[in-house]
């Protein structure tokens, strides 16, 4: 029951004002401590074996340009995004980051809408997912794949910079013990065995020619069950025994650091591999000047497969911050001091 407050009006005015003041303080607090999406510099770590020829020179002209670097939602992309963003910062640009774009469709739309300047994409993903090229028509040769992707992106007014040294692809991963027990080296070896095995992959793997559909059609495999899981859980399902096979990435930290997991060789070459290309809005790239492309292509020069695996390991196993790992990489490669 409500008490009747006839002193409502008088008392309310005074105390109401205080309540509003409290709310205002809270609002100011939120605004003042608001999160920044600017890149954070990493910690100063070990001495760098820097070659001063490689050092990125800061160009004051670039200061008038603001670039927003995006990335998709998994470790390798976070690291790449940070490497590019910090490199561009060293070159004198104003850099913001948006390292959380969910999928390549969202990321491409973000470029077209002007929300980001660009992000790192894989040639195979660009062709297969963005432009619907069937998996068996994606070139295995890195240069050809790059040329095709570049041409298709150009029609959307998107420029593709040169590819990274490393290439990454999906792979059928499993516990080494499972592989040894069933004598599995190639994916074809699964014939006759896989019908008792559970395959785990991202939800979209179910309908993709370069994933479950191709494994069933091209390799003629049957699986006991396909379990959709978020890619963040691709090794957890193997650990917990929820799946016998899991779709993993060849550049994964877990593969690089433990004999516990292994991958089966794609003997029928179903799964395309892709180098990373930084794709950017054509207009933004032109307006930003040559340092945009040059810096990007410079900082990725050291990204060989062992190196990217090492960087992935630092984030996924040691649980370091992608920003710190990127900073260390840039320092140790001599791109920044």
């Amino acid at each position: 029951m409500l008490e009747r407050g006839y002193g409502v009006m008088r008392g309310l005015r005074l105390r109401g004002a205080f309540a509003i003041l409290l709310a205002a303080v809270l609002a100011v607090g939120i605004a003042a401590c608001g999160s920044s999406s600017d890149t954070t510099g990493g910690t100063d770590t070990s001495a760098s074996s820097s070659d001063s020829d490689n050092l990125i020179q800061s160009n004051p002209d670039n200061g008038k340009t603001t670039l927003t670097i995006g990335s998709k939602n998994f470790t390798e992309e976070y690291i790449l995004g940070e490497i590019y963003a910090q490199g561009l910062e060293a070159a004198g640009y104003n850099v913001k980051t948006k390292l959380n774009l969910g999928s390549e469709q969202i990321a491409l739309k973000a470029i077209k809408d002007g929300q980001i300047s660009g992000y790192p994409e894989y040639t195979s993903t660009a062709l297969g997912s963005l432009y619907g090229v069937p998996a068996d028509q994606i070139p295995a040769n890195a240069e050809e794949a790059y040329a095709q992707a570049k041409a298709k992106l150009a029609k959307d007014d998107v420029t593709a910079f040169s590819p990274t040294p490393f290439a990454d692809s999906n792979a059928v991963g499993l516990l080494t013990s499972t592989a040894e027990k069933n004598n599995l080296t190639d994916i074809s070896d699964l014939k006759g065995v896989s019908q008792d095995m559970v395959l785990a992959g991202s939800p979209e793997c179910r309908e993709r020619i370069d994933c479950l559909v191709g494994l069933e059609k091209n390799y003629g495999l049957q699986f006991k069950k396909f379990t959709p899981v978020d890619i963040g859980l691709r090794y957890t399902v193997l650990d917990k025994g929820d799946a016998d096979l899991s779709i993993v990435f060849t550049s994964d930290a877990q593969l690089a650091n433990s004999e516990k997991y292994t991958v089966l060789k794609d003997d029928k070459e179903l799964i395309p591999s892709g180098n990373v290309i930084f794709i950017a809005s054509k207009k933004v790239a032109e307006d930003a000047g040559p340092d945009f492309r040059d810096t990007i292509e410079q900082v990725q020069g050291n990204l060989t497969l062992p190196v990217i695996r090492e960087l992935n390991s630092r984030v996924d196993i040691d649980k370091e911050k992608p920003a710190d790992v990127a900073h260390d990489y840039l320092q140790q490669s001599g791109y920044i001091k």
Binding site: P228, K240, D242
Partner: protein, 241 residues
């Protein structure tokens, strides 16, 4: 105007997705869409909702009934309900996936945990709100505790309890949309994968989810009406007249 046109366009595309099969956006001649394709996803979502809701009822109702009957533990029962609203579902789902694995059982447990607070709190509050004179009359007639609970308090508390069940059911069903992150293919698959199902698929998924949620809500509202004792219905009608 353009927005309106594109909205209408999305809806027609979505209905086409629901009723006709088509090729996946990712190509390869893979068929998606159509009722036969969509149904297993819907069924999985309904199944896990049923299991999770059953678990929440099995745990929450007895505790709520007993605590409400004896009148103790208000802080726990009501506080649990308030705190329960603050729990982020996706964290529970990922944590359980990491600790015990994926699949129907584990997702059902995670969702059951989410459905528990409204069931427990509403059961407790409903029992406390039962007219004490009815309870006294029953005791006066010589009924024992469990008889009082079952034959007097529970029927009188049933409408409010059902309101909690409805809240729990809708929360669980809605959250089951993310189950495809952890091993269960639900209608959320269509919503979260425009790359495979296209924008039509996304809208179609959302429509089917909303429609099914509405049906669940309506069905449980019907159950709530059925379990409301006639006396309460008449009392309510006369009060609002």
């Amino acid at each position: 105007m353009i927005v309106l046109a594109s909205i209408i366009d999305s809806f027609t595309g979505a209905f086409d997705f629901i009723f006709h099969s088509r090729e996946a956006v990712t190509g390869g001649g893979v068929p998606v869409g159509g009722p036969a394709y969509i149904w297993p996803f819907a069924r999985t979502q309904l199944e896990v909702t049923a299991v999770a809701l059953g678990g929440a009822l099995a745990v929450g109702m007895p505790i709520g009934l007993i605590l409400g009957h004896i009148g103790k533990g208000e802080f726990l029962a009501v506080g649990f309900g308030n705190a329960g609203r603050a729990v982020p579902e996706i964290a529970v789902i990922f944590l359980l996936a990491s600790l015990i694995g994926i699949g129907l059982g584990n997702v059902a447990i995670a969702l059951g945990i989410l459905g528990l607070p409204p069931v427990l709190t509403n059961t407790y509050v409903a029992m406390r709100q039962v007219d004490p004179t009815a309870v006294q009359a029953a005791r006066g007639m010589g009924m024992r505790s469990w008889q009082v609970i079952l034959r007097v308090e529970l029927p009188l508390a049933a409408p409010t309890i059902m309101a909690g069940v409805r809240t729990a059911a809708i929360n669980i069903f809605a959250t089951a949309t993310v189950a495809s992150f952890v091993g269960l293919s639900t209608l959320g698959d269509f919503v979260t994968q425009p790359a495979v199902y296209g924008n039509d698929g996304v809208v179609a998924g959302a429509i089917v989810i909303a429609v099914l949620a509405g049906l669940i809500e309506a069905a449980l509202a019907g159950v709530q009406w059925l379990v409301t004792p006639r006396g309460l219905k008449l009392a309510r009608a006369s009060r609002s007249a």
